[in-house]
């Protein structure tokens, strides 16, 4: 299943996550062993409640696992304190959320800079990079001072992607990034993510949408907290559309999706 030629981004060993709900223990992730590679566009799929988002938040240091080990570039992050995890996230992780989660009291540029200034000491360079990235994702200067609620969903998510990328993260984590968008806006966002991946950005994306999954070069399928399937694909180019779609559909069908 692994690809020895690629550098390992992270590994999980016997990863477990249990939630307690009204005294009832719910085991969401069960002894999960997983290796993710640098430069990959990894897509994690699964039905609702399969634990894919829980996995994403656990491996990104957003949440702590109940048991097990997460080695991120060889560093065990499971023993880190909340504040150490925060520092880890700001240096290594970028996040794109389904609900976008821009700070609605700040302008687009301030949203991006509020992340950038955490890491980058050279503020001028940070501002320039923010503007460059915003322009690259299609948000021109007229949008920079606008508030999130004044943007369309697609525009807001682009701003979210820029915020996630501003500190050049080791990995970009995306949780259903097109889930709240219409199909055109969703396609546009996927285009941006594909473009970023083509430049070497490692992406780990959670989705239950087939079209989104097609963008990945590796698809992992999760069921009841256990990894039950994996599909290796070539990098997305757009040229192999129908064939790629069929391949993924068959993979998912085999897993009863």
């Amino acid at each position: 299943m692994s690809e020895p030629s690629k550098a390992v981004l992270m590994q999980t060993n016997k990863l477990c996550k249990t939630f307690s709900n009204g005294g009832v223990q719910q085991h969401v992730l069960k002894n999960l062993d997983l290796t993710l590679y640098k430069g990959d566009f990894t897509v994690i799929m699964g039905s609702s409640g399969s634990g894919k988002s829980t996995l994403l938040y656990a491996i990104s240091g957003m949440d702590k696992p109940t048991l097990g080990e997460i080695l991120f570039e060889g560093q065990d992050i499971t023993g880190l304190s909340n504040d150490q995890l925060a520092v880890f996230r700001r240096k290594h992780c970028g996040f794109v959320f389904q609900q976008i989660h821009l700070l609605d009291t700040m302008s687009v540029l301030d949203n991006v800079l509020s992340s950038a200034y955490l890491v980058q000491k050279d503020r001028k360079a940070a501002v320039n990079r923010a503007k460059q990235l915003l322009t690259e994702v299609g948000l021109d200067a007229s949008k920079w001072m606008k508030f999130p609620a004044q943007l369309s969903g697609g525009e807001a998510q682009r701003a979210g992607i820029v915020r996630a990328l501003i500190n050049t993260p080791t990995a970009l984590f995306a949780d259903e990034p097109t889930g709240a968008l219409n199909s055109a806006a969703g396609a546009s966002i996927l285009g941006v993510l594909t473009e970023m991946n083509s430049r070497g950005q490692s992406i780990i994306l959670v989705t239950h949408d087939l079209k989104t999954a097609l963008r990945g070069n590796r698809i992992l399928y999760l069921r009841d907290g256990v990894m039950v399937g994996e599909l290796q694909l070539s990098s997305y180019s757009g040229a192999d559309g129908p064939e790629r779609q069929e391949q993924v559909r068959a993979f998912l069908a085999d897993l009863g999706w």
Partner: protein, 780 residues
Amino acid sequence: MYSVQGKLAWSNIRKRKSSTAALFLLIMLAVVLLYTGVSVILKLGSFQEQKMTELKTPDVISYFATDEHLKEYEALLDTYPYTAMWEMEPALLLSEVSMKYGPSDITTGLLILNADQQRTLAPFRTISPVHSDGTNLIYLSYVFHVGAGYNTGDSLSFTYGNQVYTYKIGGFIEEPLIGTLSNGAPKVFMPGSTYRELAVRTGQTAKYSFLSAAVTNPDKAEKLRQLLREQLSASGTSATYVVMSAQSGISGNLVFVNFLTAILLAFALIMVVISLIVIRFQILEHIEDHMQNIGVLKANGYTSWQVITALLLQFAWISIAAAIPGIAAAGAVMPYAGNLISSSIGLIWPASFDILAALVSMLFIMAMVMAVTIMSSRRIRDITPIAALQSGLLTHNFKKNRMPLEHSPLGLQFALGLKTLLRQTKQNIMILLIVAGLTFSSIACSILNYNFTGDTNAVLQLVGFEQSTIQLVLNSGKLQPERIAQVKSLEGVRKTTLLDSLAASVQDTSITLKVSDDFDTMETQTVYKGRPPIYDNEIAVSGIIARQEGKTIGDEIEVSTNGVSGKYLICGFSQQINQLGMVATMTDKGLKRLLPDYTLTTLNVYLNEGADPNVFTQELERNFPGQWSATNVEEMLQGMLGTFTSAITSMTAVITAVTIIVVTLILYLVIKTLILKRKREFGILKGLGYTTFNLITQITFSLLPVVALGVLAGSLLGYFYSDTVFEMLLSSLGIYNIQFAANLPQILLLSTALIAAAFIVSLLVSLRIRRISVYGLITE
């Protein structure tokens, strides 16, 4: 319908438990202060009247050195048409005794009466329990118990004329007129044998007569007092004498209590206003947070008034729930407040439940809460169902992106904190008003405390006593210039002045006429407008006399003394608390127009700094044996102020403590609301890599500047305008110009302490954010 609104109200209370608890505590504190103040105000006047009836207090009392004029005074009482009865008995006046009073050493007078003497008016009656073991007993005024901590059976020692006298306290008496240290010498009793023994030891100078008179019509007591004073004044006696009507005696004792009560009530009103501001804040927050629920209710046919009713019920319940324990707590506090009152009026303050004060306090708070709830929820009327349902879009304000990070030179956390601060206009105004109001109260109280316990000059100026070191009166003969020169030549004497007090009247009102040859040399300058009299046709009258007579500077006023009247030109207005402000000043030349043979009798001596008054009096006695009677004015004044110190210090401590509690509560309330409202935002920031400490720093920076600004505003207002507030509180006594000393380091310390307390509270309350996981914040 109402049950649904009741459920809504109850649901709001349950959802905002901590905010409700904070408001509950605020209203409770306000009720405690309000009830205490109102019950004192409502009870004080009638309580004293009841006590006077119960204790058979005379309408007029007087004590004076027994001399050859005694028959004339008796004749006056017999001929005064409204005299119901009068009694005269021997007394001892120890004009200057030194003793322990609580933690301080004080100098005061003691008027000693024989407990075995038969009398109808103000008969000897002690408050139980009584110690009757032995004969060397003394029965003190109740203030010595409640103000100084003496108990029955304790030993009391005092020094009089270089001799130490020690007695066992047999019990305490209640005395409405001369039972305190601020109304002349307090009255004490001794059993017959002890009294006689003391009379022998103290000699002729202490032998006094004590007169008690009752009148048929209480309104005529003041006139009798005036006549007696004038007659005593005309006798030319150089010894101390006091004539007091019941009304003036009670008023004199009440000055301080009224002043403290006014401060308490003012602070209570500040607390009420704070509670109302918090209610308004909570309602505005509620409307913003529950816009969609309001939309749903309206869409389902609820009227605006019905929605508002839920809020009215919510805050009415909280107010009632807080007011009841507030009144109970006030009941628990009352004994302490009662002790403070007792130490000022010399009577046992009844700590009984005052239903009227409770009703007034509760109804006032309820009415205010209801009015503010209705006014604050007006916005609900303007919200259409559809607008409410689209609240997310309609309630945001995108007008300005204040402090864009791109151009901000500030640290990231500070910049983000300030951005938050600039967004919270309503909240900032609330915090600013509350913190400024509370800081002002604390600073004003600390200034008051400093002026009573530290630099007492301004208070003594207000009281109106001339601040000399020693007051001298010749035991016989006239005060000739060579006598003054002799005193001046003694070692340590910086200067001397001449200042007499005489009984006089304006129209039918009794006043004290202060006479000197040169008012410019006085240390206590009571004239606040115009100037002191210089020429023989001039007089400076107190503002209260001027107001009463409808006179202003430049007008003529007729003054009478010893049956002679004359018109004088008002050259200035003066002020003083002593004598209830009924004081006028004129030069000795001016007085000679009425009493041509008059010569000044009282010599004020001012010693150099560090000079010991006792050494001076010993030196005086050694050089001029038996010629002078000396009073240590400095000690006497400090002793008199000392009796108020514990009350002022307690009041300052209470107000400062309440300030810190309320600031803590408000910050807790605001931060809790802020964390709740910005939970998602904090989750996102945590997700982006902000640490808990980063977020706490942001929260603190978003509040502290407003708190600091509030403290600064309150401090500046307190520093510059405390005097104005005190002038307002004392204006009924004719005090229009107060210049209290403000101790800048003390004010800075207090302000810094408030900001530091706010900082610590902000950090501690913000720590709640640590418990919230980033995953929980984002996925909620």
